[in-house]
């Protein structure tokens, strides 16, 4: 078959991304706890958040629980009896107790451990012991719903009661690309998770530029670099409202050691057999605001979600998306290798990101710098900053409401 690898590297010019600015970036927003507090509402409340994949909820009764620390929320996603997805707060409407601590499973109903108020898979209140004493209507006791929608197999939730955009509007033209990625057809996942002592934006920035590859990943990603493109820069950047894309450059002359070559060859053949090898999205990198990346690499389709835990703490979740269960020893071996190889890369990133956090926390520098090939980091900063500043202005315009006033 014809090679899908482009023959040479054509760099993105500096001028083409200059419209995003060239100024130094204030360092404080990456480490300031007060700024982080504003991001809770300004960024996370007001965004659609990727929270799972439909392959985790195959049958009616399947559920996943996902905690979003940034919004102090615990969300239940269920596959209802009608086959549809439901999302609601994992909070009993009696006295607020969380209904379940299980991360996932299968249930017919959710029953609160405290007083046994019980809910259907769609959050509808079913019954509670001695319920008549409350003088409440059952219909007023359903679980608090959360907006949920799916694109490309990914489950998104939105916790903003005043949201103005559907998921389709939020994603814009990227919705079509998500539907075309290998992850859209995934039925099985690999996953690894890391905790990191670093702000979510410092962590995110690492995965938005290739400038660091040559220094941090000379062994694990050396095969992606070449004299014509020594930093492995992408061939294109795209900006879609708050989201970003890049087109990954593939080194046509990359060499790898023997067993790595064997594994990559097997992965390529499985991608060909699965009909995804030469998909138009094979070099696609999509960064959805605020914290989700997904790559279309057919041999190694993966996503990376970076969850803020605190101003200087985050959690990364990397998932690989496979079509069909392991149907042979060769396929199992290949998936194991590909996961282990990617895990090596991310392990190298984690260490240097923490060093960046420590450096910025020291206050030694007031600004950081992005060159044109770090333009996705700049766009990301601009998007976060605009939202935080707008929210800050919104707060300043609001009359303070005290508890006594609120109770009137």
């Amino acid at each position: 078959m014809n090679s899908v690898i482009p023959p040479s590297y054509k760099p993105v010019t500096d001028d083409s991304v200059a419209w995003l600015g060239t100024d130094p970036i204030p360092a404080a927003s990456y480490v300031d706890p007060a700024w982080f507090e504003l991001e809770r509402e300004a960024v996370y409340r007001r965004s659609w958040l990727q929270i799972g994949h439909v392959c985790e909820l195959k049958e009616p009764g399947d559920f996943i629980r996902r905690d979003i620390e940034m919004l102090k929320a615990s969300i239940l996603i269920t596959r209802g009896k009608d086959g549809g997805l439901n999302a609601m707060h994992n909070v009993c409407t009696h006295r607020g107790t969380q209904l379940t601590q299980e991360p996932e499973g299968k249930k017919g109903r959710f029953s609160c451990p405290y007083h046994r108020w019980t809910y259907d898979l769609d959050g509808k209140f079913v019954s509670g012991p001695d319920f008549e004493r409350f003088g409440l209507a059952k219909k007023d006791c359903d679980l608090t719903k959360v907006a949920v929608d799916v694109c490309g197999g990914f489950i998104f939730v939105n916790l903003d009661p005043a949201r103005t955009q559907s998921l389709g509007e939020w994603l814009g033209p990227l919705a079509e690309q998500l539907e075309a990625l290998p992850s859209a057809k995934a039925t099985v996942l690999s996953e690894y998770v890391y905790e990191i002592d670093a702000n979510w934006k410092i962590t995110t920035d690492n995965f938005q530029e290739n400038y660091h590859l040559i220094a941090i990943h000379p062994r694990s990603l050396g095969f992606t670099l070449a004299p014509q493109n020594p930093y492995g820069y992408p061939t294109e950047y795209g900006f879609h409202d708050p989201h970003r894309t890049q087109t990954i450059w593939e080194n046509p002359d990359g060499t790898v050691p023997p067993m790595q070559g064997q594994a990559f060859y097997k992965a390529m053949n499985f991608a060909i057999a699965d009909g995804i090898f030469d998909a138009p999205t094979r070099r696609a990198y999509i960064a959805l605001f605020p914290n989700f990346f997904v790559l279309g690499i057919p041999e190694q389709p993966f996503s990376h979600t970076i969850w803020p835990v605190g101003p200087g703490k985050s959690r990364g979740v990397i998932r690989m998306y496979w079509q069909g269960a392991d149907d042979s020893a060769s396929r199992r071996y290949t998936r194991e290798y590909i996961m282990a190889q990617l895990r090596d890369v991310h392990a190298e990133d984690r260490a240097v990101i923490e060093a960046g956090q420590r450096g910025l926390e020291s206050g030694a520098i007031k600004h950081i710098h992005f060159q044109p090939q770090e333009v996705l980091c700049r766009h990301f900063f601009n998007q976060v900053s605009e939202r935080v500043e707008a929210y800050r202005a919104e707060l300043a315009g609001r009359a303070p409401v005290g508890l006594s006033a609120a109770a009137e």
Binding site: S190, Y192, S220, M259, Q260, D326, S330, Y333, Y337, M339
Partner: protein, 117 residues
């Protein structure tokens, strides 16, 4: 003296000395075994096993995974651990001790291989 019973399919006797240490049932445990082994152990396993990867997979691909017998399952587990160890030997090389420290933070939480482990 009676010959010790083989624990692997015919043709893979060279890997018998590695079964106890390297035939491991889950992905996270296989990764941890890489972390906990010395360069000498890794290189010994790699050198003994790498030429047998393709013959092993060719044999094992002859049946559905659910039908593999105990010997075949053991051989597959050895090869799956080899995937991890080969990266240490071929890719990380002398950087492997430092890399191990970094890698321990990346907790493997699910893989397709673990669904049947």
């Amino acid at each position: 003296m009676s010959k010790k019973a083989s624990r692997l399919p015919e043709g893979f006797a060279a890997l018998e000395p590695f079964v106890d240490d390297w035939a491991i049932a889950t992905s996270a445990a296989r990764a941890a075994r890489r972390d906990d082994s010395s360069a000498k152990e890794q290189e010994g396993f790699y050198e003994a096993a790498r030429e047998l990867l393709d013959p092993a997979l060719t044999l094992l691909d002859g049946k559905p995974l659910a039908k593999l017998d105990a010997k075949e399952r053991r051989l597959l587990d050895l090869m799956l651990t080899l995937a991890h160890v080969s990266i240490a030997v071929e890719v990380q090389r002398d950087f492997e001790p430092q890399h191990t420290v970094m890698r321990r933070y990346m907790r493997i939480t699910r893989t397709p291989a673990d669904l049947e482990a």
